[in-house]
Amino acid sequence: MGYKAKFRVWRGDGGEGELKDYTVEVNEGEVVLDAIHRLQATEAPDLAVRWNCKAGKCGSCSAEVNGRPRLMCMTRMSTFEEDETVTVTPMRTFPVIRDLVTDVSYNYEKAREVPSFDGGDVKPGEFRMQQVDVERSQEFRKCIECFLCNNTCHVIRDHEENKEHFAGPRFLMRVAELEMHPADVADRRQIAQDDFGLGYCNITKCCTDVCPEHIKITDNALIPMKERVVGRRYDPLVWLGSKIGVVKRGKETPKA
């Protein structure tokens, strides 16, 4: 059975705008993105919204629904009361282009800064990776780059000036993935702390909470990376071990 749902949608561009009220028909089994599309087709043909797969796999329709960072295509209307007003706004951390579409180029700039895989002297075809090692990084490869984690991370959400020296959970996870790769010979611990701002993370786990792929970003990437950084920079016993040759270090990786 369909019903008339009340929506408040942020409309505007260049930062200026306001929440506008709409009433949209919603049918059984629909998600927020369906309602936004119906709104486009009826009352607001100029409403800008980025979307692609409608299956939670492309990471395009990231927004904030009732203040919570979500994929609109994965947010069922059945989770709201029929008389509840559903508020849809663009991601707050990134500049808005128009309506619900934000400029996420910050993320691509940070992605370019992460030094790529360094296999050392291993030639293509020489290295065979075992399943147990594949599984570890496979979790991080599930990322669909919706950037909800970077959007919700208070380090840049509430302190925009940190964008310059903080890569956000998404790209700290990428650094961790490479650092844990058995064939990668580079030591990425220094750059994780100095260039990508791992020390700014205070592990409040919001990145994990909002991840639509349920990647344990904090427990499996950020905290293990923090522990590795401790071994590189803050552990006097490891420092002593490296001085007397008991602990071996890889070569430092310069920022790309």
Binding site: N66, H154, I203, T204
Partner: protein
């Protein structure tokens, strides 16, 4: 035909006056944490400084807040690790002076507790997608996370974990000693069971620690070359998913164990004996 260009929109965030648009009771969890942690700290502080009702001589129950009991004021039966701290210390120095500061450090630097108290006490942030309320928010560049003193000291967690492991061995010894009957032989009472539940939970909390997971195998680049350490890592990882639960459960078991021993020692009621 005249060509026209459109100016690129300015790069500003969406201006939304509301602090947050969340409608759920996001404040409830940090508020609960605040109340529970504050109550626990007050209770633990008072009890560890009280200097009485910490030992049941008849059944050899020692509360974890006084373990190891190393003050000259401890009864000799309760002091298996020596009595080398003067009996008359300032009131704020506990009898278990060699363990409590490290246990406090272990919990303060714990990854689970950090999340909990950053949210509940420092409000950085109070909840996800709710603005940070710390004073640093109003000063550009003031937020430094865990990069400067004092929070850079969170990186000492692995040392506190190692010491906490040693103290867990002492707590296990206390639980073994609690199999002490009224006639001096083997015995078992409700206090013994409570002490054992507490020590098992303490081991769960200590072994599920993220630093433990790192040491056991997390620091490796290749699991396949170290199968034993990989196995250890997988076992610790299973526990690690419940680290937060162990952290909270041990708060309750510690307080419950201490309260039970204190009440029995004080004579409020006698221990419920199962055997001898």
């Amino acid at each position: 035909m005249t060509q026209t260009t459109v100016d690129a929109p300015s790069k500003d965030r969406a201006q939304i006056p509301a602090r947050t648009l969340r409608k759920d009771r996001y404040w409830l969890s940090p508020l609960t944490t605040f109340i529970v942690f504050t109550a626990w700290v007050v209770y633990a502080t008072v009890r560890s400084m009280m200097g009485s009702s910490f030992w049941v001589d008849k059944y050899h129950y020692l509360t974890p807040f006084y373990s190891p009991c190393v003050s000259k004021a401890c009864p000799p039966e309760a002091a298996d690790f020596g009595r080398f701290i003067p009996a008359h210390l300032p009131f704020f120095l506990p009898y278990a002076l060699i363990s409590l500061p490290f246990l406090l450090g272990f919990r303060l630097t714990c990854y689970y507790y950090r999340k909990a108290y950053y949210r509940a006490f420092w409000l950085t942030p109070q909840a996800c997608a709710v603005p940070d309320k710390s004073p640093a928010r109003k000063i550009p560049g003031a937020y430094s996370g865990e990069t400067r003193l004092p929070l850079i000291l969170q990186n000492t967690h692995r040392y506190f974990w190692a010491i906490a492991g040693l103290i867990s061995i002492v707590n296990t010894w206390d639980a073994v000693k609690a199999f002490h009957g009224a006639d001096g032989g083997f015995g078992m009472g409700l206090g013994t069971i409570i002490l054992w539940i507490n020590v098992i939970m303490l081991w769960g909390y200590t072994l599920s620690c993220h630093s433990c997971r790192h040491v056991m195998g997390g620091r490796l680049k290749s699991f396949s070359k170290h199968p034993v350490r990989y196995w250890l890592w997988t076992q610790i990882s299973k526990l690690n998913t419940r680290h937060g639960q162990f952290a909270l459960i041990t708060l309750f078991t510690l307080a419950l164990t201490d309260a039970y021993v204190a009440l029995v020692a004080h004579g409020a009621f006698s221990d419920l004996r199962i055997f001898n």
